[in-house]
């Protein structure tokens, strides 16, 4: 049982780390603010989600697990709204250029 849990943790956390890697590569390679914003919000949020998923089997209690999910949801909400705010700001910046 514990082995299955650990395998799931390792798999999910590794996948999460991969998406963090992808997000960072995107930040480094993408040409402008708006495209980098995609990299930042999408890849990293998925990465965080997968890390949370991976930690769920290790959580001490159901409550802690739900807390983890809550943190992820809060992170999603933050990412989603902030990406809109920054996108608007960046677009206005471009228009003003």
């Amino acid at each position: 049982m514990s082995l299955a849990r650990d395998v799931m943790t390792i798999a999910a956390v590794s996948a999460g780390a991969f998406f963090f890697l992808a997000g960072t590569v995107g930040l480094l390679r993408f040409p402008d603010t708006l495209t980098r914003l995609h990299a930042l919000t999408k890849a990293d949020n998925l990465g965080l989600g997968l890390v949370v998923l991976g930690l769920l089997p290790q959580a001490a209690s159901l409550r802690d697990g739900l807390k983890l999910v809550g943190i992820w949801l809060l992170g999603l909400l933050a990412g989603a709204t902030v990406s809109q705010l920054i996108a608007r700001a960046a677009r206005h910046g471009q228009l003003n250029r």
Partner: protein, 173 residues
């Protein structure tokens, strides 16, 4: 569980009944949040009461009770769709970032939405900001402006599908 959910519980109805009902359902959500955070303990009752009451009061002040019907099954479907889309979005970005050719055709796409400005459009924009390749970057009259990683993707169609799912789930009036 959290704010957006609290808001979604607004039920059809007019006047005081509706606001009481929505107050009750929001309070229930905040109570769930409290229980997740602090666990269930008798000692916590005063703090939990204060927290839930304050949060509900604030929530009602900041966000008026809605008037639309919602369907639990459609919400579930929306959530799953959303989850699926955000995974696809992450994979999509990862693929483009790691591809040596850097396949990007960034640009803006205007999507004519049927949702009125305000809360509904905000919810829609927020959900779609996690869609593959799109970030809402502004509004113009009846259109939402999206920045896309790849303008050749069928962005409009995907957005249409999402909007329909959202309307079925929450704004079915």
């Amino acid at each position: 569980m959290r704010g957006p959910s609290g808001k979604r519980d607004a039920h059809t109805g007019v006047g005081v009944g509706a606001s009481w009902r929505s107050a009750a359902s929001r309070a229930a959500w905040f109570l769930c949040l409290w229980l997740v955070l602090a666990g269930a303990s008798l000692d916590d009752i005063p703090a939990a009461t204060i927290a839930v009451a304050t949060a509900t009061w604030t929530s009602l002040r900041l966000l008026e009770p809605g008037t639309s019907r919602r369907s639990p099954r459609a919400i579930l479907r929306l959530a799953l769709l959303f989850l699926y889309q955000s995974i696809v979005a992450g994979v999509d970005v990862a693929r483009r970032a790691l591809d040596p050719g850097l396949p990007l055709r960034p640009g803006f796409v205007a999507y004519p939405t049927r949702l009125p400005r305000g809360l509904r459009r905000n919810v829609f924009a927020t959900l779609t900001s996690l869609l593959p390749g799109t970030v809402p970057a502004g509004e113009e009259e009846a259109q939402l402006l999206y920045h896309c990683l790849d303008v050749d993707q069928p962005v409009i169609a995907e957005l249409d599908q999402e909007e329909a799912a959202l309307a079925r789930a929450l704004y079915n009036d």
